[in-house]
């Protein structure tokens, strides 16, 4: 029983780590995505025959990075609390199962002690 609870807890933790870790974007990826987006806006304007808008790439990159950082921090916070909530539930269950196991063990010990102390245990069993 203890093994099952421990195993399932590890499964929860494993699943959590594998599937819920936030996707961290690197600085290069952000720069590349911003450049692509600006190029796309410029080419669309050119196709339509409109004036190409003046976009400050550095300012846009900074704004996007700040936005991503905020979203990532929010997600990390949510995941931290989610993990903690699942952890306390599993911890409570595991401690309870261990407690039952200990009580069973204590009873077994007392029974074997009683068998040893019993006056009948010294006698030969009847044939």
């Amino acid at each position: 029983m203890r093994i099952i609870v421990l195993f399932s807890f590890l499964i929860v933790l494993g699943l959590f780590l594998m599937s819920q870790i936030p996707v961290v974007l690197t600085s290069n990826e952000v720069d590349e995505a911003v450049s692509d987006a600006i190029a796309q806006v410029e080419s669309t304007a050119e196709k339509k025959g409109e004036a190409v808008p003046q976009i400050d790439e550095d300012e846009v990159t900074t704004a996007v990075k700040l936005a991503i950082e905020k979203l990532e921090n929010d997600q990390k916070r949510r995941l931290k609390f989610l993990c903690a909530a699942y952890f306390v539930i599993w911890l409570a269950i595991m401690l309870y199962v261990i407690r039952i196991g200990r009580k069973q063990h204590a009873l077994d010990l007392r029974l074997s002690q009683l068998e040893q102390d019993s006056p009948n245990s010294q006698e030969e069993p009847p044939e």
């Binding site: 029983m1 099952i4 399932s8 499964i11 929860v12 699943l15 959590f16 599937s19 819920q20 997600q75 916070r77 949510r78 995941l79 609390f81 989610l82 903690a84 909530a85 699942y86 306390v88 539930i89 409570a92 269950i93 309870y96 199962v97 039952i100 009580k103 069973q104 009873l107 007392r110 029974l111 009683l114 102390d117 019993s118 006056p119």
Partner: protein, 225 residues
């Protein structure tokens, strides 16, 4: 370990693993609370299981008062103990969810307050059992079990009884407004917790019965000496 216990253990283990899959892979991400909403499935299921456990305690406490059978007392105690475990899990996981969703660890709103009162009542139940001995322990704790059991419907309906303005929890009909995949996941997790409850109840009851038998034999043995 009996065959029924082994089967129940396997069924419970499969259901728990399936629950984890359903929560993280099948149920959709709720759009306002995002990841933290996943606490909902274990939190609410644990609360429902605690209600069932306290309900069983209530029924067997009444049966003990009427019939005075020790077995009924043993089942009542075992059920209350597991109910307390689930209620503790609810009270521990709730604030972690609340911190992200409501930006507070605790609020003295009706559902939280009545749940805390319920938890304290069952703590009192076990304190009473520690203080008293023999028949007095069984009778008094059965009376307290009945009294505490009457609090369970109050906890469930607290979101409907008190003013809406004082509530943070949604009302009892919310579970019918969820997408089908969320409802299915919730019920599945609840039944997997219920199977865990049933297994623990059997084990705890058997253990308590063996302890009682041991004490009887020991008393006889001491009498003979």
């Amino acid at each position: 370990m009996g065959k029924s216990v082994k089967i129940l253990t396997v069924v419970m283990a499969i259901m728990i693993f399936a629950s984890i899959y359903l929560i993280f892979a099948y149920a959709p991400m709720e759009q306002s609370m995002l990841e933290i909403q996943k606490v909902f499935y274990f939190h609410v299921s644990a609360a429902f299981t605690a209600f069932v456990a306290f309900g069983v305690n209530f029924v067997f406490s009444i049966r003990y008062i009427i019939k005075r059978k020790v077995n009924h007392d043993l089942i009542a105690v075992a059920s209350a103990e597991i109910g307390l475990l689930f209620c503790t899990a609810v009270l521990l996981s709730g604030p972690l969810w609340a911190r992200v969703s409501w930006n507070t660890w605790w609020e003295w709103e009706p559902r939280l307050t009545t749940t805390l009162v319920m938890w304290l009542m069952y703590i009192g139940y076990f304190i009473l059992r520690t203080i008293l001995t023999g028949d007095r322990r069984r009778i008094y704790s059965a009376v307290l079990g009945i009294f505490a059991g009457l609090n369970v419907p109050i906890v469930y309906h607290s979101v409907n009884i008190w003013q809406k303005a004082s509530q943070l929890h949604p009302d009892t009909n919310t579970k019918y407004d969820m997408p089908q995949s969320m409802t299915l996941t919730l019920w599945f997790v609840f039944f997997s917790f219920l199977s865990f409850y049933a297994l623990m109840l059997i084990l705890q009851y058997r253990l308590a019965k063996s302890n009682l038998r041991y004490e009887t034999i020991r008393q006889q043995h001491l009498g003979e000496m």
